[in-house]
Symmetry: C2
């Protein structure tokens, strides 16, 4: 293609994924967004109590990597809400693999939500219909 | 069970998995062991060129977490070979999810081995036979 991307460490798909989300917090933010959290305040209140400076930095990094999108929902003071892009939502399969591995091998751990894929809260008016369709 | 384990951050299976392998290097060591690498020297030669101090520290941490086992294969000087435990080998599903996500969303990335499960390098004397069999 003539536009070879200079990889940070190697062209390995795993290594490059880890360059984006290979830390203790990024995938927890993705988990929370998959679970329907939207605001900085909601994300900061997760049980792991992510330090707010780390949360702010991770949100910037995840947005720069195209994993989340932020849109203003309030102007004075300015507040954003965060949603996963398709790229970000598809990290759900990585999270699911971690949930299974953790539950199998780390005694006492649980899936905070039984199924990230089905835990999105649909808009209220569709909720009963969505349930009926299942 | 009466022996509740105090979790570092929360009982979330994802958070606790990330407390063990949530960094840029640990899963690359697991990848390499799945691919048949066994010695410190082989692991150090991976394309990402893990710094040797980090490799030594990660091997200790992964052994302490029950993900790898080390056995001496030479006495003077003492050298160890490393293998994945069942707990470690089952991180293969996490790696596979990362490979798929990376290939789908990070242009130009590849699976370093098409199939971790079949990529173990056979002993030299069998290598040509193994190639012919493919």
């Amino acid at each position: 293609m003539g536009t070879a991307k200079p990889f940070l460490r190697s062209p390995c798909a795993i290594a490059n994924s880890l360059d984006i989300v290979g830390d203790k917090w990024s995938l927890l933010v993705v988990r929370d967004l998959l679970h329907g959290k939207r605001t900085y305040g909601e994300l900061a209140k997760s049980p792991e109590r992510i330090p707010t400076n780390i949360l702010a930095e991770r949100l910037k990094r995840l947005a720069a990597a195209g994993i989340i999108a932020s849109t203003p929902y309030q102007e004075h003071p300015l507040r954003h809400q965060y949603t996963l892009t398709r790229k970000g939502a598809e990290l759900g399969s990585v999270l699911l693999a971690f949930v299974r591995w953790g539950k199998d091998h780390i005694p006492g751990t649980v899936a905070l939500s039984q199924s990230p894929a089905t835990s999105r809260i649909p808009p209220k008016k569709n909720r009963s219909r969505a349930r009926r369709a299942e």
